[in-house]
């Protein structure tokens, strides 16, 4: 198909789609209205399970089974990217070289790395109380480790990131989410039902199963993102075609 036919085809389809979207938008309830039936029910259900952060309650309690699927997509993508980016037969690894870094940049990285790790851990641990949770906190933890790459070089990143441990942690955390669902079954409720003691509202130990699943997801996201980025960084820094001189 030539470029002009393709563009023409797209413009026709886009016009129809735009007309449909405009019609649909005018039929929706107005922006900022006060009628949110699902939202109100979700808030009531979250508060009844003593979870202060309703978004976390929706994700890890009210639709925990959906989040299990989403978390499996995350695990599958990390696995898929790892398969696609493994060392091919006509490639070899070269040693990454040390890079010169400004002392101020090095100081910045050394100061902020532990702080960012702590913030990420805090976000995961308080997922059921304050904005944040396993997904967001996990990304913050993974970002923290990569400050070593930004503020120093690849060799330093390799030292601070235990890749073999994280590979295993990713798989165990992904599996433990599915296993945690069995608690509900064992207590005669249903798969992934929140049957653990609910604790006191607005305390670290509140919300029962939500806090545990949240922690498992935090570990999975943190290790998954580090492993994913490790594969991409390998491609950029270490892997070269066989026979090519440095």
């Amino acid at each position: 198909m030539s470029r002009t036919t393709r563009l023409g085809l797209f413009l026709t389809a886009a016009t129809i789609l735009a007309a449909a979207l405009i019609t649909a938008a005018t039929e929706l309830p107005g922006f900022g209205g006060s009628r949110h039936p699902y939202g109100e029910r979700a808030v009531a259900a979250g508060l009844a399970r003593r979870t202060a952060n309703i978004v976390t309650s929706v994700n890890f309690d009210q639709r925990a089974f959906d989040t299990l699927g989403e978390e499996s997509i995350l695990f599958g993508s990390v696995l898929g990217a790892g398969m696609l980016l493994r060392l091919a037969r006509d490639e070899r690894k070269r040693r990454a070289a040390a890079e010169p870094v400004l002392p101020t940049t090095r100081l910045f990285g050394a100061t902020l790395l532990p702080v960012t790790l702590l913030v990420g851990g805090y976000l995961v641990a308080h997922g059921q109380l304050s904005p944040g949770g396993g997904f967001q906190g996990g990304v913050a933890v993974a970002t923290a480790l990569h400050l070593a790459y930004v503020a120093a070089d690849y060799l330093v990143l390799k030292r601070v990131r235990p890749l073999a441990v994280l590979d295993v942690a990713d798989a165990i955390a992904a599996g433990s989410y599915a296993a945690l669902g069995l608690i509900g079954l064992a207590q005669g409720a249903g798969y992934l039902a929140n049957t653990l003691p609910l604790g006191t509202f607005n305390q670290l130990s509140s919300s029962g199963l939500v806090a545990v699943i949240n922690a498992a997801v935090g570990v999975e996201v943190a290790s998954g993102v580090v492993v994913l980025l490790a594969h991409f960084l390998d491609q950029a820094v270490e892997i070269v075609p066989r026979g090519e001189r440095q």
Binding site: R6, L21, T26, H36, I54, V55, L85, F232
Partner: protein, 115 residues
């Protein structure tokens, strides 16, 4: 216009699709897919928005009867972001392999199958 934010989401979707159709570079095409997908964030957040001083659905420092925005759509956006980011990573690793095996990232030059 009370439905203007919904139309903005539709516009972002069409802009992303236009980029996907016309792109001559697969890395750019993956970026355009991310743009098209981000329209769903705008749409969902626009649907969940609530006027009259409603705030984030987190009750750690709010009275339990305070008006809050819709937490269901926010949870959906969170799902969307996670899935979007990982699928983008998977697509980008496919592009890296294409570049290695075929020496190009222009979809027009990819004509034959190769093992």
């Amino acid at each position: 216009m009370s439905y203007f934010p919904y139309l903005a989401a539709g516009w972002i979707l069409l802009a992303g699709l236009y980029g996907l159709v016309t792109s001559r570079n697969l890395v750019q095409a993956v970026g355009c897919l991310a743009v098209a997908q981000s329209s769903t964030y705008v749409l969902l957040l626009a649907i969940g928005y609530r006027g009259n001083g409603a705030t984030a659905p987190v009750f750690s420092d709010l009275p339990t009867d305070a008006p809050v925005v819709d937490p269901v759509v926010q949870a959906l956006v969170l799902t969307d972001i996670v899935v979007g980011a990982t699928v983008t990573a998977l697509l980008l690793s496919l592009v890296i392999q294409l570049r290695k095996r075929h020496g190009t990232v222009d979809p027009e030059d990819l004509t034959g199958l190769r093992g």
